[in-house]
Assembly symmetry: C2
């Protein structure tokens, strides 16, 4: 029987599942937030993912539900499970990607290396943490943050007053997460795929370069990642995937500290920007792998297809016209680079596409990916 | 502006254009023969490609028309051109892929190496050709043949009587094509991409293995293809693409004779089964390349991504159930092989999918592709 996957959310991650779904012959159906979203081609429904009735109706005709993002509320997720729908990753795993305090608490239980952290419910507690950590720290709203949103470096507890006030207002008596400011050498990411029946596969650890809190570039594998680092991050990824019961793709964002430790920064339970290189750089790209994992099919080979891959995001795009207007120049200059666009109108800071380059020489691969991406920006 | 391509025909070739179209951000629209065709996901219209009104209406909202097959009649093609539609490849090029006598005549004018051939209008002429060529020859209907259909090896002119009778009946006073039976060592294929502004790129020559007149396997590049053979087939492909004014992908099917000549067997002006390996084995797959070519965008790098690639067709499929029922076994055994299915119900002899394998060792690559394909057949 044709396998049917329902994806909640119509963004670029759902869009990039379309290509492997077509090739495998998987019937991919998307519940999009609006008409004309990135994944519109596969959209079979448009509706509010916070409405259990909408999501339940969408789920009726598929074998498994998965996600373009982690924002589907727990009550909707549990309603799906109660109705007998296969939800992958499931609500109890997704909680850890939805609430950073839940994640920190669980990772601590699992003995995972993390920055020092605390859940603080008022400015007094926050100030105490600041005093204990050299007077500066990172404050995060536990829920809803992404791409640098909901993250603030503070040196005075009063700098989080607005967030405390908002928490008080929402009536849930919530807390903010505060984390030590990690002295890191660079950021890494570890991709892991896990299927319900237990099979796990890891991708090579990659280096991610963030600009203004947004992923700008990824190099795979992470340069100068020796056997030890590679083994440590893979083991860490597997431990988290298993410990949290992840089904599908997991991305573990990591700090490599100046004193050679690896600390968990963030988690994402879906294909992730730090894994886009794998579309062209690995035998099995993360989008195909996610489909296989949520269908509980055997996972694909995660080996790199070339010694080096580089991914460079197209952020914002050209100030006039569309990305396609720049195709001729980019393709002419970089015939070997793979261009991926998301069907989104250019807008400052918006992720509207990315390019992947692969090859034998690291500097050359990075140079070519940057060159190709530059054609899509002013 | 978003680039829009209209594909006439909803088969697997149109289907396999979807993945690169999504990634590039090209709006691919398909005029399908029926509901539920291979390329149904991108079908925006269903209708008869022999009806000029249907095709003209479909063409109204796209930038360029291209094809899943070569069967669109010349009068429909010229109606498109007359209406100002960009048609790639155009009617004057496509004629050579639609009529084998037109092809043979033009290739002769271009000085291309071919089997001895003649256009014969009755059994007397056919018998004369047989007498001149050792008593056996290949007779072909000039139009409408594919995958071994419309091709017959004869040793008596009367064996083509039914075809002569059919020609007489259709009132066009047509001829049959007769060709010498070539003593060949193996069959090869040369893929070439050409865009309207003139840029041409060749793929490495491949070896194709036919069974019962149908492509069964492809190895890329062709084993033991030295520099000379590679240069000869590439030059031949370019000469034909330029001589015939091809726009898009061209496949030149070739015989490598036992006395080391290369002769043109057939042409296809579209992505072709002999080029499917390039989806996973080349930097730019033939489907992406076709999109770039018909949009007159700079062509992509055609370099192989691995020393060897093998493509094995899934012919017929399992006698019970669907291809997807076999995914678990195939993926478990061959995690590194890429599976492509066409969304077609299994039926004896039908091409329902293919698998691609890549790697450093030829024997291993072929073995793995065959092994993976075998899981999809009884």
């Amino acid at each position: 029987m044709t396998l049917r996957i329902g994806v909640v959310g119509g963004g670029q991650l759902a869009r990039m599942m379309i290509a492997p779904a077509v090739e495998l012959g998987v019937d991919l159906r998307v519940l999009a937030e609006d008409e004309g979203m990135s994944a519109a081609l596969a959209a079979t429904a448009v509706g509010d993912y916070r409405d259990a009735d909408v999501v339940l109706a969408f789920a009726r005709d598929v074998d498994v539900i998965t996600f373009d993002h982690e924002h589907v509320p727990q009550d909707v997720l549990t309603a799906l499970v109660d109705a007998g729908v296969a939800v992958r990753p499931g609500p109890s795993a997704l909680r850890h990607a939805q609430d950073k305090i839940v994640m920190r608490t669980r990772l601590a239980e699992l003995g995972m290396p993390q920055p020092d952290w605390a859940a603080v419910s008022d400015a007094v507690q926050l100030q105490q943490f600041l005093d204990d950590h050299g007077g500066r720290a990172v404050v995060k709203t536990p829920r809803g943050g992404y791409d640098g949103k909901g993250v603030r470096v503070v040196s005075l507890a009063t700098e989080a007053d607005d967030w405390f006030a908002a928490l008080a207002e929402d009536g849930h008596g919530g807390e903010l997460l505060v984390e030590e400011l990690v002295d890191f050498r660079r950021e890494l990411a570890q991709q892991v795929a896990r299927r319900p029946s237990g099979e796990v596969r890891t991708y090579p650890v990659v280096e991610t370069v963030q600009r203004d809190g947004v992923c700008a570039e990824v190099i795979a594998p992470a340069p100068r990642a020796g056997e030890r680092l590679t083994a440590v991050t893979a083991a860490l990824g597997v431990a988290i995937a298993e410990g949290l019961g992840v089904e599908g793709m997991l991305a573990v964002e990591l700090f490599e500290t100046t004193d050679d430790r690896v600390l968990v920064n963030e988690l994402a339970m879906r294909p992730h920007n730090s894994g886009h290189w794998s579309q062209d750089g690995a035998v099995t790209g993360q989008f195909e792998q996610h489909l296989r994992a949520v269908l509980d099919l055997p996972l694909g080979d995660t080996s790199p297809r070339a010694p080096w891959s580089a991914m460079v995001n197209i952020l914002g795009g050209p100030t006039s016209g569309t990305l396609e207007d720049r195709f001729a120049a980019a393709m002419d200059d970089c015939p070997e680079v793979k261009i991926h666009t998301y069907g989104k109108a250019p807008r400052p800071g918006r992720k509207v596409g990315h390019v992947n380059a692969t090859g034998d020489d690291l500097d050359d691969v990075v140079y070519r990916a940057r060159a190709a991406a530059s054609f899509f920006q002013d």
